[in-house]
Symmetry: C2
Subunit: 263 residues, 2 copies
């Protein structure tokens, strides 16, 4: 039997991303250690994976084949300063962090960014896009195999492109989700069950599987219906920040719609 590449893995990080990725890999590879700066988190994931765990960067096992840094983006730099893994492949999983943040840790390094909203989920959906970047072609291939094993879909982009993809992803997931948060808050105030809106939310998503979102734009802003826009603003008078959000999104919809009509 051929020996598998990257047989032994260390996870640096024990949050949502590390938990999901390790779950997808645990049956095919050997996860030998979990690190988290919070010992309780390292322990939870370590016990789940039946491996050792630590909250001390100096105690990270040096005999693994692959090191996956899956900590919060703003903690990557600090972690990097404490790691020396010459000759071992080390990767991070961040959308907006450059590849070269890893260049002083090892001569083999890469990025594997899953475009996925991990909050509250243990399992990675099959077909999840993974954006790969590596310091050399051989490791790019190794990371591709890893993505295929996790039933993900591999794409190849550099750090600059990945930052742009990440920015667009914020407009696809983080911001719409926050608008749902606002809608839920407004519903609570008005005594309306939020679940009434699930069919409409489903539509909102399904529309973009069928046509450009430009063609699916409806509502008072796209008609520039001032009477209703003012009625809505009056209903938001106790929420100045929601009102500002309403105003600026309305302004942007009106600009986009009038641009279209001119064509």
């Amino acid at each position: 039997m051929m020996k598998k590449n990257l047989q032994k893995i260390v996870f640096i990080g024990a949050g949502n991303v590390a938990t999901s990725l390790s779950d997808s890999l645990k049956d095919k590879r050997e996860i030998i250690q979990v690190y988290s700066k919070t010992l309780a988190h390292a322990k939870t994931l370590g016990q789940k994976l039946k491996c050792t765990y630590t909250n001390d960067l100096k105690k990270i096992a040096l005999h693994a084949d692959l090191y996956i840094i899956a900590v919060k983006d703003d903690a990557i730099e600090k972690v990097c300063k404490s790691l020396k893994l010459n000759g071992k492949l080390v990767i991070h999983t961040s959308g907006s962090t450059n590849l070269d943040i890893l260049k002083n840790i090892s001569k083999k390094y890469g990025v594997l960014w899953p475009m996925y909203s991990f909050a509250g989920k243990a399992k990675l959906a099959s077909g999840t896009p993974f954006f790969i970047e590596a310091s050399n072609k051989k490791d790019e291939k190794v990371l591709t195999d890893l993505v295929n094993e996790m039933k993900g879909k591999p794409y190849y982009i550099n750090s600059e492109e990945r930052a742009k993809v990440h920015l667009a992803a914020v407009f696809i997931n983080n911001f719409p989700n926050h608008l749902f948060v606002i809608a839920e808050a407004l519903c609570k105030e008005a005594g309306i069950p939020f679940k009434l809106f699930l069919p409409l939310a489903k539509e909102t998503f399904e529309n973009i599987t069928k046509q450009s979102p430009v063609l699916s734009q409806t509502g008072p802003a796209s008609r520039n219906d001032k009477q209703i826009l003012n009625k809505h603003l009056a209903l938001l008078k106790l929420h100045p920040l929601y009102m500002d959000i309403y105003k600026i999104l309305t302004k942007s919809i009106i600009q986009t719609s009038s641009g279209r009509k001119k064509l």
Copy 2:
């Protein structure tokens, strides 16, 4: 055989809403006429439904049982001024227009607002929520039957509540769709295929079927990760309006997240 209520229907309006509703009703009722201020639109829908059509409000047939006003919200008032339908049931289909706009047309009036994004679709999805309001209990029942025939789900709210539901719906559909428009524009600029984001968009919706959106909030704003937030703003420097949208949604996410942590 018992004679059906509301056997004969006139549609005032020939846009997306009238087209979808008439399609759902055409096999069970008799649609006798379509009005649109644009003759070509009246003709298109009239021919589809095999009924007469007109662009003259004075020529609206007076022998129907039900008149469905499905014109743009800001055109309802004008239509109302030209209609006298004593004793006939007249309804509008608007989320943010009060019931009593109809009170001078007939003594029987109501509202039937489908919470649905109609753009570019001929068919109404089954299970679509319909919000009903009527000037009397008997017509409320008549409208409920109509909703059931269209395989919709009836709910009963007054005009004030309906305006609030409509406002929340803007945050569930119109605004998220506009964020998708922005994401698509950013993708085009960066040469990234927009369809890469469909799995993430699907997740964004599916998350709210499982838990409160408050628990699904992820991303740099929810972590208040200033380094990435600034990187994203720099990428938006050629789009001042998108930048303002990014800033205010980020501000609102940070406020919501810090509010949660204090709990």
